[in-house]
Subunit: 448 residues, 2 copies
């Protein structure tokens, strides 16, 4: 760790010294407000991106040591670098690192990263997990969506009057809150199971199946919510949804066979990488133009991409590595920069709402899944573990929340509250799971 | 080919249809000048990037079939999509694809791609090629730099009065022109040799050694030229160069051992990718702050990176793939967008200069290397082949030219002339080599 801190400090210190020594350039502290609008963001990106990458990696390492999934560390790194911590503790440093003229650049890189990430999520979605899973998975999954969804709507009734943005209909606000309560982070959950060697156990495969079903359900629901938010009339919503259905049909009936054919052909393999990247971007454009969000198209393309073929994996591997290591940290920081916990301030009422949202989210998803699993014939200990796992919201929730903020469905305040809920419900997953796993099988009822 | 054209046309057509059908969105042809400045470049990037990637790949494929290195096709693709062709034949399409508000985004992505590419160039620079190469390589390399360099200065005397920008000193203009005459494209040359199975022959290893030496010499010379251009006084130039030397020393004496230690440590390998990417960006920032160009820092970091270790190669592989496939095409298009052959227009005098530049460039580099090689005891046929290879300027020249345009050392007109020279001297390499290889050994003097 010292080694790579050294690797950063030496060049940075060198650059700063040079900057100060260099007579030709502007003084480091000089303010030139008129130049801000036209300032070249490239030099600033050259310093901001390394800081982002290294802080993310550092936090990932720290969280990894605390037996937490590393991605949670990266999510925290984003918040750390945002106005909620760096901006609060060292405003000058924050302003220097993320000046307003850098925002469009970070924004676009984060969006490209998000679109590529959503493609990977779709690509890694194993539909085989769901097929032939039997009643347990279907029941748990349906209940683990329905219960938090319903509790989200009830919560919305309470929150709408004081916390919704003007111009946002109750239906939109309630549906969005309901979806954000229902999310499970499939990638984080899979990571957690692998880290603990649970991925090949019955519990592991059941949770994965449920999470996969929840994932699909959550994206479908979110698409519906977005359609209601971007159309004022019910007819408009219907048109958007019809277009979306047509788009999905196009993807499955035309793009999927084309891609499969491409992968099999000799010539196709040489062009596979640029074609796949282009297809991801164009699909993202398709859903964006329909009026839902770009992420849906990218996710769909991932779902219809040919799998189980070493060629595709080999081509996608560098995209995955680059996206996860370089672009996704930018998304976390982009999210962190938008998260203003200061909006909650010292307003106890807002913190009360925040607490309520957390409790409802955890109870709705965790308890709902637990009870559903037990009803489906699974013992209490396993049911509790499943409940703890399904409560993990992580990255998926952040994607959903950003869509909500992008489209003006929620205010920055509600965004901050929901990010807080995401952090808490994600961080509690690993310790909760450890606690439950320590319970002796046979004496589990005490734990409830 | 039909297959992937189909893959593009279907989603694009789908998106366009949807765009037209969708009542909520703005009409496709609507002009909203006031919105241009604040328009979100992301949706446009989602269409422009696929077009760039696919046109680059298409051109690469076409040039590959003509026994040309594929990268030349990509360079042409950039020009095709620029104002010189697409902008001329279909101005409305060009405006639609590359609206002004997309320029900053393309710019920054191209710059990131260029910096990562220069790191790869440095990383792949095999210093072992040069060591113990003997008199021939050193002689040929020195002459193949000195002769075009001198001819560049002579050319500058002729061109300075009518073609230089006001405010650019003769020294800067002449040195820049001299460097741009001396460049050899190491990556393209290596590709050409591998494609023809020549890379393990004496000719192949000699040309690679010469090209590697030329590469280092060209970057050093360019750094000097940039230092003279950005400083008005000789003292300023000396300070910049002293800083640069200190930076190089820092890279070799501090960063190189640190990186080597990092690669060997267990913990280091887990963080190798973000640390390497961060180090590339910070080094680029270092040289940019010194007042030379960001590319030097990235190149230097590549040079000092630990090699011959499977770990580093494995970590760098995804960066290479992503950079070469996704980011480098953006650099070509960025260059193409800046290349305005229309500036030459119908002005016969300018076309005359263009022709003169091409002749001087080809003769200076090609004939210079040929004569030097023959003087060093290599037979005429091999010497001619070497001359043909060293004349290949490709991508490296484009990097140099962009630096010149960035720093205001050359006008857009001279830029266009030099891009034309680059295209001609790069494209002629493969056919010239084929022609020379067909000469019966023994009867070569006729070919001269």
């Amino acid at each position: 760790m010292f080694l790579y801190v050294g690797l950063v400090i030496v060049p940075v210190a060198g650059a700063v010294l040079v900057l100060r020594a260099h007579s030709g350039g502007p003084a480091p502290g000089a303010h030139a407000p008129s130049a801000v609008a036209t300032a070249d963001p490239f030099p600033k990106l050259l310093i901001a991106l390394p800081v982002i990458l290294l802080v993310c990696r550092l936090c990932a390492g720290l969280f990894g040591r605390m037996s937490q999934p590393r991605v949670i560390g990266e999510i925290f790194a984003g918040v750390l670098l945002g106005p909620s911590l760096l901006g609060l503790l060292w405003p000058a440093g924050y302003e220097w690192l993320f000046p307003p003229y850098l925002a469009p650049t970070l924004n676009i890189l984060a969006q490209v990263g998000l679109v590529l990430f959503m493609f990977l999520v779709g690509y890694e979605l194993d539909v085989g997990l769901i097929r032939g899973r039997g009643a347990a998975a279907v029941t748990v999954s349906q209940v683990s969506i329905a219960l938090p969804f319903a509790s989200g709507v009830i919560l919305a009734i309470a929150m709408y009057r004081s916390l919704s943005l003007p111009g946002v209909s109750f239906a939109t606000f309630a549906l969005f809150l309901a979806v954000s309560m229902s999310v499970t982070a499939f990638p984080v959950l899979a990571r957690l199971l692998v880290d603990r060697g649970l991925d090949r156990t019955p519990l592991g495969s059941l949770s994965l199946a449920c999470a996969a079903m929840d994932d699909i359900a959550a994206w479908c629901l979110l698409a519906v919510v977005v359609a209601t938010a971007t159309n004022s009339s019910l007819a408009g919503v219907a048109v958007t949804l019809a277009e979306l259905v047509a788009f999905v049909a196009l993807m499955f009936l035309v793009v999927r066979p084309l891609l499969a054919k491409l992968v099999k052909s000799e010539a196709g393999q040489q062009v596979l990488l640029p074609v796949m990247v282009s297809a991801v971007l164009l699909s993202a454009l398709g859903t964006q133009k329909i009026g839902v969000h770009a992420i849906f198209g990218a996710f769909l393309l991932g779902v219809v991409s040919p799998r189980g073929d070493g060629n595709v994996d080999r081509v996608i591997e560098p995209v995955r590595t680059f996206t996860m290591t370089v672009l996704l940290p930018l998304f976390f920081v982009y999210t962190g920069l938008r998260t203003k916990f200061a909006l909650l301030g010292t307003d106890l009422r807002l913190w009360g709402w925040c607490l309520l949202v957390i409790v409802v989210a955890v109870l709705g998803k965790g308890v709902g899944s637990t009870v559903a699993a037990h009803t489906a014939g699974i013992d209490w200990r396993e049911s509790l573990s499943l409940g703890a796992l399904m409560n993990c919201r992580g990255l998926t929730e952040l994607v959903v929340l950003n869509v909500g903020l992008d489209l003006g469905m929620i205010s920055p305040t509600v965004f901050a509250i929901l990010v807080m809920m995401t952090l808490v419900s994600t961080v509690m997953t690993a310790p909760a799971l450890s606690l439950i796993q320590r319970i002796r099988p046979g004496g589990p009822r005490k734990a409830l």
